[in-house]
Subunit: 213 residues, 2 copies
Amino acid sequence: MKTAHVDELDTAERVLTAASHLFYRHGVRAVGVEWIVTESGVAKTSLYRHFHTKDDLIAAFLEREDREFWMQWDQVVNDNAGDPLRELLALLDWIGQRVSRDGYRGCPQINVAAEFSDDEHPARRIRVRHKAAMYERLSALMRRIGARQPDDVAHQIALLIDGAFTSDGRLQHVGATRILQSAARALLGGEPVRARPSGARPKSQGQRQRRPR
Amino acid sequence: MKTAHVDELDTAERVLTAASHLFYRHGVRAVGVEWIVTESGVAKTSLYRHFHTKDDLIAAFLEREDREFWMQWDQVVNDNAGDPLRELLALLDWIGQRVSRDGYRGCPQINVAAEFSDDEHPARRIRVRHKAAMYERLSALMRRIGARQPDDVAHQIALLIDGAFTSDGRLQHVGATRILQSAARALLGGEPVRARPSGARPKSQGQRQRRPR
DNA sequence: AGTATTCGATACCGATCGGTAGCGCTGGAG
DNA sequence: CTCCAGCGCTACCGATCGGTATCGAATACT
């Protein structure tokens, strides 16, 4: 059915890629389909053959952003498996780098959702799901770390992350990663218990030590 | 020159009020001038007599939001003058209530700025100024509180606040104020020094005590 | 009273919006 | 070889975009 040239990009893929870049950089309402057509080098007819409406294209953009975000998240998690605290710090490092990149313009979920008022709009639904998933993962992670109030800390770290997302490179010169990581450490209560790689459940939040520097 | 009926609203004022509500609720690009005309009950000609372009109207909207935000901020500050920590907690309480209100749709500066890509656009300029002012105030406050690393903590609390702004009522049922305040306390390093109401400059961050509960 | 300004109303401008119709080409599957 | 789905191209649709022109009524300052 669909084979085409293996070395060339799929038509739908080219459309979605071009649309994603434009949507992210300029906002979805600022980008007309004609612009996407020009940028992707695809006929308008073909665009509408794969995405029935512009809203479908917007939804596809956000769905893909969502998928890729969690893929990278999981990658960082897997690279630091075993030590939950290390996992958290690695995630914050990844986010710190992400928001410091040139051309970073915030979280697409937040940005696009703000352009629509109808809560039934796919953009807003996807955003809600995305942020709920974020909290769930953080909450589970806080439990594994052994935080005393895992739900509260999860909410707080979620706030830090969303704040970093909207910072638009404001933290670039002070070190986004450093700010995020030290905040997380503080939120976990000074110096949290370092859990053993082999599932040692931390129960006492014993010896507090001054921060290394 | 301009007196008009004292009991009636100024024409420009009616336009700006209607535009502000629509802009905030639906996003600036989703709202056409015709819609503002209908909602304000003002002739299109009159609208353009006071605001030469739609961008001028958008800028006026954001400028006013900025002014009113700092007016309320200063109000909270004045109501809690003397004790810097109390001041901070009161500010976070105010923000917690603000983001929990029905119909809260995030920070207008963040939302509108995301709809434009040109950094020279007034919306993005005002946003940068607004957020810079936020950091400056927080940084000064952290110094008055006696935080050990005032700049870092200021950045971290700014992240919390921006995160709360974009939470869209997600913290409503867990208590936004509680989450924000406990985060701030933790970021200040357990229990920070409580400054005397009469200008006692805290220099040593002496006795650390375990959190009350 | 006279004059200048501001108002609302309507009609209009070119440009662009999201989306569709029709046509001619092409390349891979049967 | 035949067939046909997917492609690019162009022309087009009604609706709406931001913004302007014109005009008569109402208002305010001198």
